[in-house]
Structure formats: C-alpha cells, structure tokens
C-alpha cells in the first residue's frame, strides 16, 4: 500500500485560532476495499472559499458526503459548524411543493416563511418564480432556487457539489458571478467541488487537488477580485492546477 506521507503544503496563515471546518486523519473505505479517503487532513477557515478539484474517483464526493453528514465518520476526526447547507449538481427540489415552499422546507420560521423565501429568492434573482412548480423551472432557475434554499438557512459552511456542471456555458458564467456576489455578502466558509479549473480560479481563495484520497496540491489563489482570465498570474495558476490534475498544458 502506498503509505509514504506526502509533504502537503499546509495553510500558511497560522494566526487563525479557530477553523470553520477541521478534518484530521479521515480515512474511508467501502467494504474493506482500498481507501477512498486516505488519512486526509483539511482545514477551512471561517469565511474562506475553498475549491476542491480532482479526477473522477479521487474521493471528492466521498469527502463532501462525509462533511455534509450523509456518510458516517469511521476513522479520523471531522469537526464542522452546526449550520451547514449543501447544493448538489441537481437542484433536488421537491416537485410537489412550490418554489417558495421548497426554500423554507424544514424551517421553523413561523408565519414569516413566505417573506423570508421571497427575500432570498429576490437575492438570487428568482423572485418572479416564487409560486412556480419546480418542474417548470429551467436548469439555471432550479439551481438558483437550490442556492436560495441553502442561503435561507444562513449556513456557516456551504458545500457546493459541482452545482453548475449540468448547466450550459452561459448560464454557468452567470451562476459563477451570482455565487461570487453571494459569498461576498454572506461570508460563509465555502467548499466548492468542481471539475472546472477556471471556475476554481475565478471563485476560490484556495484550490485543493485531491488524488487517490489524499491532498496532492493545496494552492492559495492570491488574486484580487474580480478576476480575469487574461491576467498572467491567472494563466500561471491555471497551468499549475492542470499539471497537478495530470493535464499538461502544452
């Protein structure tokens, strides 16, 4: 078994006393098979935007499922805030509840549920579809609704599991801008699982590349926002990330 501990570049900022998310020595295997997550360490600071990249089968989804509480922690330690929210690749709205009812699903908000749903739908630009049935929404609209459902919970930690992967390129760009704007306003810790290197570089403070259940690269992205593809530093980071994903640029 590959047990050589790789020198993982750790987060430089040591002054942070409390992390939003701490993962220590997390190991996960299915039915005694090879480890999908192999003694994984990861920290996310409050308000930090982390992009998680990796090839298919690298353990991205397993990590996210563990962090969201869907999978149990058998080996290792995970601490995360109480208030978390997840946005999946599919909107996962209940088709039999109107959009605004989906937003406040499971919320014990009392009578102002409708008002809160409207406010957050307005924020993601979907105020006009509050009364629609989810199956009548377009892909982009449904993902906006899913974002609104996550935001209405005011999470300290937001997980995005390839939320734009199923959208067309133009809609995806709009959604990336929307997420960037929402994050600057809400300042929650974010973990974005993505296949898209450009998406990671546009949005995240840090890009983490997962490979065979371990963190292979932990790359800070010290670029000013808003970010531009044309920036030479952007280009450089892009090739570094692609390299660590096993894609050679030239």
């Amino acid at each position: 078994m590959n047990a050589i501990p790789q020198s993982v570049p750790r987060q430089s900022d040591e002054t942070r006393t409390q992390n939003a998310v701490t993962v220590q020595g997390l190991t996960r295997r299915f039915n005694g098979g090879p480890a999908v997550l192999d003694r994984l360490d990861l920290t996310i600071a409050p308000g930090e935007f982390v992009a998680l990249l990796g090839r298919s089968g690298s353990g991205k989804s397993t990590l996210l499922r563990t962090l969201s509480g869907l999978d149990p922690v058998s080996e290792g330690h995970v601490s995360r805030p109480q208030d978390v929210a997840v946005v999946f690749q599919e909107s996962r709205l209940l088709p039999w509840k109107r959009v605004w009812q989906n937003i406040i699903l499971g919320q014990t908000g009392g009578n102002d549920g409708r008002a809160r749903a409207s406010a957050v739908l307005e924020e993601v630009g979907l105020g006009h579809r509050a009364d629609a049935w989810p199956l009548t929404l377009s892909g982009g609209e449904a993902q906006r609704a899913a974002l609104a459902r996550a935001l209405v919970r005011e999470p300290a930690f937001l997980m995005l599991d390839e939320p734009f992967a199923a959208l067309d390129a133009l809609t995806r760009l709009k959604m990336q801008h929307l997420v960037a704007g929402l994050w600057t306003r809400h300042r929650c810790a974010v973990l974005l699982v993505t296949h898209d290197v450009d998406e990671a570089l546009l949005l995240a403070d840090r890009a983490v590349v997962l490979d065979s259940g371990r963190i292979r690269t932990d790359l800070p992205i010290p670029l000013d926002r808003p970010r531009r593809h044309a920036d030479p530093r952007f280009e450089h980071l892009r090739s570094v990330l692609l390299e660590s994903l096993g894609v050679h640029d030239d």
Partner: protein
C-alpha cells in the same frame, strides 16, 4: 414540381406552432365526433337488424326496446333501488380496501420489520384468483351483504397496496438525502417527501381498484343475491328478458366509466405539480 411540394411543405410546417391554438379545437372537435361515428353506425345497424326480424329479441333486444325498458325500470323504481344497493356495496368495499391497502402499504413501506411481516403474505395472496374464494365466502359469511362487500374489498385492496408500496419504495433517494442535509425529522420526511412522492402511484392503484371492484361486484351479485344490478340481470334471465339484461350491462358500463373519470379528476387536482401531460385524455 418537387420544388412546389417542398415550398408548400415548408409553408405548412413553419406556421404550425403559431396556428396550433386555433387549429386544435377544430381538429379535436372533428376527431371527437369521428370517434363516435362508428359505434353510432353499429347501433343503427343493430336496430335495423332487429326491426327487420334478422335478430331475434330472444337473443338480443333492440336498442329502442332497451331505452323503453330502462325508462320503465326507472319509473317503477326497480333500477334506482338496485343501483343504490350495488353502489353501496361497491362504495363500502372500496372504503375498506382503501383503509386496509393504505395502512398495510404504510406499514411495509415505512419500516423494514413491517415489510418483512406484511409484504410476503400479501405477495403470496395476490396471486390467488380472488373470485375463486366465492364458495368459501358464502360458506363463511352466508348470503347477506358481508360476502359481497368483502369480495369487493379483498379484490381492490391488492392494487392499492401494491402501487402505494411501490411508490413509497421508489422515492428518489436523492430527495431523501436532500431531506437529511436540510435536517428534516423522520416525521417531516414522511409528510413532505415520501407521502406526496408516492401519491401518483397511490392514485394509479385506486384507479385499478375501482375497476376491479365493479368486476367483483358483478360476480358477487350474480352468484347469490336478492338485490342489486347483478340480481336484476339474473332475474331477467329466467324470463328471457334480454332487454333488462342489456340495461344492466349498460349500467355497469356507465358506472365503470364514471368512477374512472372521478379518479382522473382526483389525479388532476392532486397532481397539479406535474408538467402538463396528455391534457386531452382519451375518452375511455
């Protein structure tokens, strides 16, 4: 030549989406009419054959005779009374079936232990032809209302149970995961995710159940009864009254159609969230 054809083809194809709202009522109106044209023709032929003496009224009464008989049966109260009795039987049986089917499906759909206890016996029992139980039911419950209502109930419990059970078990696991990440309690998940998600299957089951309940009723009333549409028909057999038998047949047919339409309406009301499907249902 081919160019003209092509052009006209384009011309007729292109504006189709625009002109559709205007075109459809006209088309469907004609189609609706044309659908009834051939049955109507058959009735006319039937009447003609009877009037000309080609068909003996001992075998088949003429349409006109059936209408007259239906009217007189309604006037003297025979038809309304028997219809009431039959309706009551079907409704009671269906009510029992709904209660039993839904309860059993909830037990076996929502818990593993419940499934182990409930599902296996029901899956075995559903393979039995319920109608074969008629002699046993008469031995057990005599010839009163009980065996008839129970026969209807037993027959229509299975489609309700099977469909609702399937509906509960086939809820999209992604939605259940979502409910967990949103922190929904077990009770909330059942109320907001599982039950509404299984409703389409339940209504399908109810439609089957309604159809089966009429079938059960026909047999129950013809084997051993002193009232009901089936009894009225069996009585008529003794007097070679094919007209009364045919009236009973039409009443059964109408009952089936009406109850099916009722369930369709329920589907329309409760499943409004589904994207518009075949809005114009076939008239069946």
């Amino acid at each position: 030549m081919s160019e003209t054809i092509l052009r006209t083809a384009i011309r007729t194809v292109r504006p189709a989406p625009l002109s559709r709202p205007r075109l459809t009522p006209l088309l469907s109106g004609w189609r609706g009419l044309s659908r009834y044209l051939s049955p109507l023709l058959l009735v006319v032929l039937w009447q003609a054959a009877c009037s000309a003496g080609l068909l003996s009224t001992r075998l088949v009464a003429s349409p006109a005779q059936i209408i007259v008989t239906a009217w007189s049966l309604t006037r003297d109260g025979t038809l309304p009374v028997n219809l009431g009795v039959s309706l009551l039987r079907a409704a009671s049986g269906l009510a029992i079936a709904l209660t039993a089917g839904i309860s059993l499906a909830l037990i076996s759909g929502l818990s593993r232990i419940g499934e182990d206890i409930v599902d296996a016996p029901l899956q075995i029992m559903r393979t039995l032809p319920v109608l074969a139980l008629v002699p046993l039911f008469i031995l057990w419950f005599g010839i009163g209302e009980t065996p008839k209502i129970l026969l209807v109930a037993l027959g229509s419990t299975f489609p309700i149970y099977l469909n609702l059970h399937k509906g509960i078990r086939s809820i999209d696991p992604k939605l259940l995961e979502m409910a967990r990440t949103l922190g929904l309690s077990h009770r909330q998940t059942i109320r907001d995710v599982i039950l509404p998600g299984a409703l389409p299957d339940l209504l399908t089951g109810v439609r089957f159940a309604v159809g089966i309940s009429w079938l059960m009723l026909v047999v129950a009333e013809q084997v051993n009864a002193d009232s009901g549409i089936g009894h009225m028909m069996m009585d008529a057999e003794d007097f070679l009254r094919t007209d009364i038998i045919l009236v009973g047949l039409f009443v059964y047919g109408l009952l089936g159609l009406t109850s099916d339409q009722l369930v369709r309406t329920l589907e329309h009301v409760f499943l409004a969230w589904r994207p518009a499907r075949r809005e114009k249902g076939q008239p069946t």
